[in-house]
């Protein structure tokens, strides 16, 4: 190309995009987070490692699935926690054991289904709700989409908290069983961890298949310019809706896993703040890469657990301190590396 035309680069509508320095930051981030994880696990031993990895698996499913929507489709959704909650509550209500003591005022029917019978319902319900919500949300973009997705998170939380006939409100639901294959229940922590990791692997595989398919390429084009891609014959609304529903279904799976793992859930796990932390993880790890979301989720889990060992930090402030660090990291990233640690896309 002629040098002259090079010199007027950036006459285009969006201006020049700075070349993203990729390899170094990515490699360093990967090495640091993985090394940190290894060191931490070796130091703390097996029991701790198992817990940590299980939490990681659940957050990673959430982060990877949210990245489909945020990183690949460009819809900055803060409402993902709602689908997570729907999955968790569906599992809790369907699978909880009816025999535990319930307050008479807050008692709910508990069908006592096995895990694997309830799981498809959890995923399907999350998808179904996402379909309805998506049809309404499809017309919104950019900051207005952020606002309405805040709205979805808050509405979902309100339902968990206030629909007492179904969710027992603030009392939460107990006695949610672990997955069982016939008579072999995954009661052990290791067994459950393996199960969670299998789920994570499945989600990662599905996401990888999605983003490397023609569908995934269309998503990135929608992210860049909805109107332009429509001219080439794609029904943008359908593609957006499809990825939104798929992503919500994965969040529903993560919710079911959480409910089963902790055996108790209450609305506090699904507050708006958690959703904001989730979006922070996705952006921190990197937009439009699956690996980035895995890395982000790992860093997030390590951050919280790591802070428990800071001598000067009172234990009740661990969560807050993590939130401060995440907030500051988010600010720093937006300043210097808006695509996140290993990202392929900047908002």
């Amino acid at each position: 190309m002629s040098q002259l035309s090079e010199s007027i680069r950036g006459l285009g509508a969006s201006g020049p995009l700075r070349r993203m320095p990729r390899a170094n930051v990515e490699r360093i981030a990967t090495v640091v987070v993985l090394g940190w994880a290894m060191g931490f696990m070796l130091w703390q031993g097996a029991g701790f490692t198992i817990t940590l990895t299980t939490i990681f698996a659940i957050w990673a499913i959430l982060a990877v699935s949210l990245n489909l929507v945020v990183g690949f489709t460009g819809l900055l959704s803060v409402g993902h926690i709602g689908f997570f909650g729907i999955g968790a509550y569906t599992m809790a209500i369907l699978a909880s054991d009816a025999s535990y003591d319930q307050l008479r005022t807050e008692s709910i029917p508990t069908p006592d289904w096995p895990f694997f019978a309830a799981l498809p319902i959890c995923i399907a319900l999350a998808g179904l709700v996402a379909l309805g919500v998506g049809i309404v949300f499809n017309r919104f973009r950019d900051d207005i989409f952020v606002l309405v997705s805040f709205g979805f998170a808050i509405i979902a939380f309100s339902f968990f908290l206030n629909l007492r006939e179904l969710t027992r409100g603030a009392f939460g639901i107990h006695e949610i069983p672990r997955p069982a294959f016939g008579s072999w229940a995954l009661d052990g922590e290791v067994e459950f961890l393996v199960f969670a990791l299998i789920c994570l692997a499945l989600v990662v595989l599905i996401c990888w298949l999605i983003v490397t398919s023609s569908f995934g390429r269309v998503l990135t084009a929608i992210r860049e310019d909805e109107e332009a891609i429509a001219v080439f014959g794609y029904r943008v609304t359908h593609f957006k809706l499809a990825v939104w529903v798929l992503s919500a279904m994965m969040a529903g799976l993560a919710g079911a896993l959480l409910a089963s793992w902790t055996s108790f859930i209450d609305p506090n796990s699904f507050i708006l703040l958690e959703s904001m932390l989730l979006i922070a993880i996705v952006i921190l790890g990197g937009l439009a890469t699956i690996w980035g979301s895995l890395l982000g989720a790992m860093a997030f889990v390590l951050l919280e657990e790591g802070m428990r060992f800071l001598p000067f930090l009172p234990p009740e402030f661990v969560g807050q301190a993590r939130q401060v660090v995440l907030g500051v990291l988010l600010v720093v990233l937006m300043l210097f590396r808006p695509q996140g640690l290993v990202g392929r896309y900047r908002l």
Binding site: S2, S5, A13, L17, A221, E224, A228, F232, G233
Partner: protein, 248 residues
């Protein structure tokens, strides 16, 4: 009937207004199927709006568009390829944060939702993308992000993206604007080659040298209305055109 069969695109009383401004005002015009048609007119005469209406990027406020004998009151953007229409944008709208290669590939792949989920890169797509990228001279830059290319390269890539659609009718919104002579020649070559392959080309241009040289047919707009149309030399010699627009 005879008129509409000779014309690939025919509009009847086409209207579009933004608030009180009538960008396109009851425009009735026929664009012939063969050769190159150029739309000219002063700034704000409704050229880009016309292209946006024909490609479905903007909804019509009134009138009918007849494309290949099919009359439409509502041109939907995602259906425009079915009518054999594809386009480029005045402000060069590429998919900035994906590679030049993917910018071409994305218009080649499956349109239906479910099959597209299961479609991987096909050799046929790859061949077309390579051919198009070579034709517009962007093969070496295929791995660069579209947003990192120079303005001229972006223009070429956008034209390449339209070419990959292999449509009957191409709407080019100012394909020559802001290009250096070397690039301009290249775009001209591409346009001529496409005409020779039997495609219908419609472009907007302000460059009078090109308007004299390239098109077979000329449409002159002024304030959203048709000022005149016809053979290039006829039109350019008419006094009203000279007065209203050319000022020569």
């Amino acid at each position: 009937m005879t008129e509409s069969s000779a014309a690939v695109i025919h509009t009847i009383d086409l209207s579009k207004h933004f608030g009180a401004v009538r960008a396109v005002d009851e425009l009735t015009v026929a664009i012939p199927k063969t050769g190159i048609t150029s739309i000219v007119g002063p700034n704000g005469s409704g050229k880009s709006t016309l292209v946006n209406l024909l490609s479905g990027t903007l909804p019509l406020d009134g009138g009918i568009v007849i494309i290949d004998g099919v009359g439409l009151r509502l041109v939907k953007a995602h259906e425009s390829p079915q009518h054999g229409i594809t386009r480029t944008f005045q402000e060069v709208r590429l998919f900035e944060q994906i590679s030049a290669w993917d910018n071409i590939m994305v218009v080649l792949t499956e349109r239906r939702l479910i099959p597209s989920l299961f479609e991987r890169v096909k050799p046929a797509h790859r061949e077309t993308a390579e051919r198009v990228l070579r034709e517009v001279g962007m093969w070496e830059k295929r791995d660069a992000m579209a947003g990192e290319l120079s303005y001229g390269q972006r223009k070429l890539l956008e034209i390449g993206r339209a070419m990959a659609m292999n449509a009957q009718t191409y709407l080019f919104d100012e394909p020559f604007a802001g290009l250096f002579p070397q690039m301009l020649e290249r775009v001209k070559e591409i346009v001529v080659r496409m005409r020779d392959q039997g495609h219908t080309l419609i472009f907007i241009s302000h460059n009078m040298d090109i308007v004299r040289e390239l098109p077979d047919h000329l449409i002159v707009l002024d304030s959203g209305k048709l000022l005149t149309e016809g053979e290039v030399h006829d039109v350019l010699s008419r006094a009203e055109v000279i007065e209203a627009y050319l000022g020569e």
